[in-house]
Amino acid sequence: MKIPWRALTMVLALLVIWVAFAALTDGTFMTPRNLSLLARQMAVTSILAVAMVLVIVAGQIDLSVGALAGLAGAVAAVTFTNKGWPLGAAFLAALALGMLLGAIQGALVAYVRIPPFIVTLGGMLIFQGTLLGVTGGVSTSPPRVFLFVGQSYLPRGLGWALAVIVGTALLLQAARSDTAGRVRSVLLAGLAFAFTGVLNAYEGIPLPVLLVLVLAAALWLLAAHTPAGRHLYAIGGNREAAFYSGIAIERRVVQVFTLMGLFSAIAGIVLTARVGSATSDAGRMMELDAIAAAVIGGTSLLGGQGTVWGALLGALVMASLDNGMSLLNTEAFWQPILKGAILVVAVGADIATRRR
């Protein structure tokens, strides 16, 4: 039986962080109220991180996702609030913009062969500037109906119903798999119920959190079980081999950047809805949080390695640090310092253990 040591180590590290914060905050950290807050806090970074995994797996990088999220969120808010577009149209416009800008960047990388670091660094600056122009430097606060994406909760009954469906599906799968798969399925089913229980003890499963889980599951299917996803791993793992196998590398690169653009736009809408307004510096630095989450979650910057669930775990680690330090009233400057240190230590430990 193969034991996923990597994943176990990460979960263990997360538990250590949680226990430490729980002890330091006299249990406040582990209350349903705070865990619900934590889940909502990590939503935007998670949406960016799960797609970033695929970009990095394909041997690419995207530095523009934070700025693009800010821009797309603002476009949705401005078209809906100031131009009076229907909500659906405003959202679709934002999503289409994200995909278009992602596709353009991908094409520049794939066909013009400009390094992705440069293309997306340029993109980041351009999107930041455009965002400033679109918002005019003032923040736009969309009305309540816009905010449901970021601030509403699933009714408790519906939450339990979902947990039962997911749990049953997992247990049915357990019946058909080997020992390792059985252990995993049963643990995951337990996790689904615990998750629902904790969040229902507060207000219910937050809509953005459900969205994260659905999107992550979709990307996992794409990454692990479709030819397109496997091709991304092949391209990042051995470009020559992918080429000699007849994989259309350029097209896949454009596709993965388009996907990243789409997810940036989704993240942007959720961000605007959660915060309640579109501002001119929305999304700033979020690309780095997304990359850090993916890397802490086991994605190799050299390409060819990484998982969607790992990135989610990585995002949870980062969000836990932010949240816990806020609870402790640590001065704000400590947060980036500790996050930076954790990033370097996590990757260092991974490399050290992999070497032996």
């Binding site: 496997r230 092949a234 992918a242 000699y244 994989i247 060819g304 390695q305």
Partner: protein
């Protein structure tokens, strides 16, 4: 006739790589393609495999009498031609099954990969090459030989009728090589044809039905293997008879240049075990000391530790010239300062900056010497030194601005040698200096080594090529599992005696 090439010509800017090459291949036949580096073999197979599309070359390709025009690799594959490239084209992180079906994954419901069918198809492919491994395992867990089998299985799954193998055994052990050759014979009996490219003439003669020799982009001879001899093939390859391949320098060794006492090197993987055990020897000025032994005898560990480049702990004493006995060097910088130089086993990894030009590479180890006032580099002086060296070593290149990576293996090796000669070493360690180099360039490297010894350099030559060691060295140090099991003068060093010493410790261990 399964495959015919007629008057294939391919030009690159400034060079004609192929000049009217014709060849043919029958069903169920192995055709060996021989030639020096740069003779046009790689270009030829790239034309055949569709890498260079129709229109980018002149001439015709026909399969079963019908003209074909490949636009890309896929077109060639559809006609049953599969290229097994020199660098393995596998993705290490993906499973064997995924690698076997990369680019044509079976898709089931909802556009998802049908894993059941993938694994079944993969098992069928592995059975075709007689490889018994779980297709779910990642390719990185396989040895090089097994990875090669996976590549061949992949080609067979695409119904390949013609396999093109480019130096398939370059990185294989002897056992894996034997397995590969027997697989190719087996495939031949099942009607699969192969075009086999190799520098190793033993393999060519044991496997091929016919041999075609290329030189300077032309086909200079084709014949049934039974009608060819090694000498004839070599003569065709280099365009002249190679008589004295091994010029043993006729020097009388002078003073002791390097003395080594009780040298021990720990095993980097298993601390507490040793890969070199209490080895003592000395090398004199003007002497070539050969170091022979089987794989794992500790030859590379010995020379790299003497050069201060060992990754694991080293014990023992050494003395250079008249100097006092001292402990091991801890860094290559110390060894270089003391007058040592090492041409390592893997020149692409340790010897060259492939992207840098010749001048950069040649003066890399001696940059400090070219610093002028204001800490700037004296480029004209570097240029001049590189120029002289390049002429002395007969490095063939379009100019000093050429990137090292674009040179042939033999010329790359000369650049590495040149870099070290600029440091004026007293002791030169050579680790597999002719690996992957063709016969003609090899003769030049031997000539260089002999010339250096004549100038009074002490040379320590590690090589797996026994004839090379026996032909060049004044004395041969034989290692067996890290022990010194022989030190033979050249006139008493026969292949049999060396092999006997090389297996001495293995036998002792087997008895114990």
């Amino acid at each position: 006739m399964l495959l015919e090439l007629r008057h294939v010509t391919k030009d690159f800017p400034g060079v004609r790589a192929l000049d009217g090459v014709s060849l043919d291949l029958n069903q169920g036949e192995v055709l060996a393609l021989c030639g020096e580096n740069g003779a046009g073999k790689s270009t030829l197979i790239k034309v055949l495999a569709g890498y260079w599309p129709h229109g980018s070359y002149g001439g015709e390709i026909a399969i079963e009498g019908k003209g074909v025009r490949f636009r890309n690799l896929r077109d060639a594959e559809e006609h049953g031609i599969a290229l097994i490239a020199q660098e393995l084209a596998l993705v290490p992180g993906l499973s064997i099954a995924e690698n076997l079906l990369l680019g044509r994954e079976p898709v089931g419901r909802g556009g998802l990969v049908d894993w059941e069918r993938s694994f079944a198809e993969a098992r069928r492919g592995l059975a075709l090459v007689g490889l018994d491994v779980d297709p779910k395992r990642p390719v990185r867990e396989l040895g090089v030989g097994q990875q090669q089998m996976v590549e061949i299985a992949r080609a067979l799954l695409k119904d390949a009728r013609i396999l093109i193998l480019d130096e398939p055994t370059a990185a294989l052990t002897e056992a894996d090589t034997a397995r590969l050759l027997s697989l190719l014979r087996d495939l031949r009996s099942r009607g699969v044809s192969s075009i086999y490219i190799s520098h190793r003439l033993d393999e060519v003669f044991s496997l091929a039905d016919r041999i075609t020799v290329l030189r300077d982009g032309r086909s200079v001879g084709t014949g049934a293997t039974s009608e060819m001899s090694r000498e004839r093939v070599i003569a065709l390859m280099v365009g002249r008879e190679v008589k004295d391949l091994y010029p043993r320098p006729d020097t009388t060794p002078g003073k002791v240049a390097l003395r080594v006492e009780d040298w021990c090197v720990e095993d980097p993987v298993n601390p507490g075990r040793f890969v070199v055990k209490n080895v003592s020897f000395e090398v004199r000025e003007g002497e070539v000391l050969g170091v022979a032994g089987l794989l794992g005898a500790g030859r590379t560990a010995l020379v790299s530790s003497l050069f201060g480049a060992s990754l694991s702990p080293v014990r023992g004493r050494l003395a250079l010239g008249d100097g006092p006995l001292r402990g091991p060097f801890t860094t290559p910088a110390e060894a270089i300062a003391a007058g040592c130089a090492l041409v390592s086993e893997d020149r692409k990894r340790y010897g060259l900056v492939l992207e840098a030009d010749l001048r950069e590479n040649l003066t890399l180890a001696t940059l400090a010497r070219y610093v002028k006032r204001l800490l700037l580099l004296d480029h004209p002086a570097r240029e001049k030194a590189s120029d002289e060296l390049s002429a002395a070593l007969r490095i063939r290149s379009p100019g000093l601005k050429t990137q090292a990576g674009q040179l042939s293996g033999g010329n790359q090796q000369k650049v590495v040698l040149g870099k070290w000669l600029l440091t004026n070493p007293r002791v030169l360690f050579l680790d597999e200096p002719t690996r992957g180099i063709d016969v003609g360039a090899r003769a030049e490297v031997y000539e260089l080594i002999a010339g250096l010894a004549r100038k009074g350099l002490a040379v320590v030559l590690v090589s797996s090529d026994l004839p090379e060691v026996l032909g060049l060295a004044h004395r041969v140090l034989v290692l067996s599992l890290g022990n010194r099991t022989g030190l033979l003068d050249w006139n008493e060093a026969t292949p049999e005696r060396v092999m006997e010493a090389a297996t001495a410790a293995t036998k002792a261990e087997a008895r114990a």
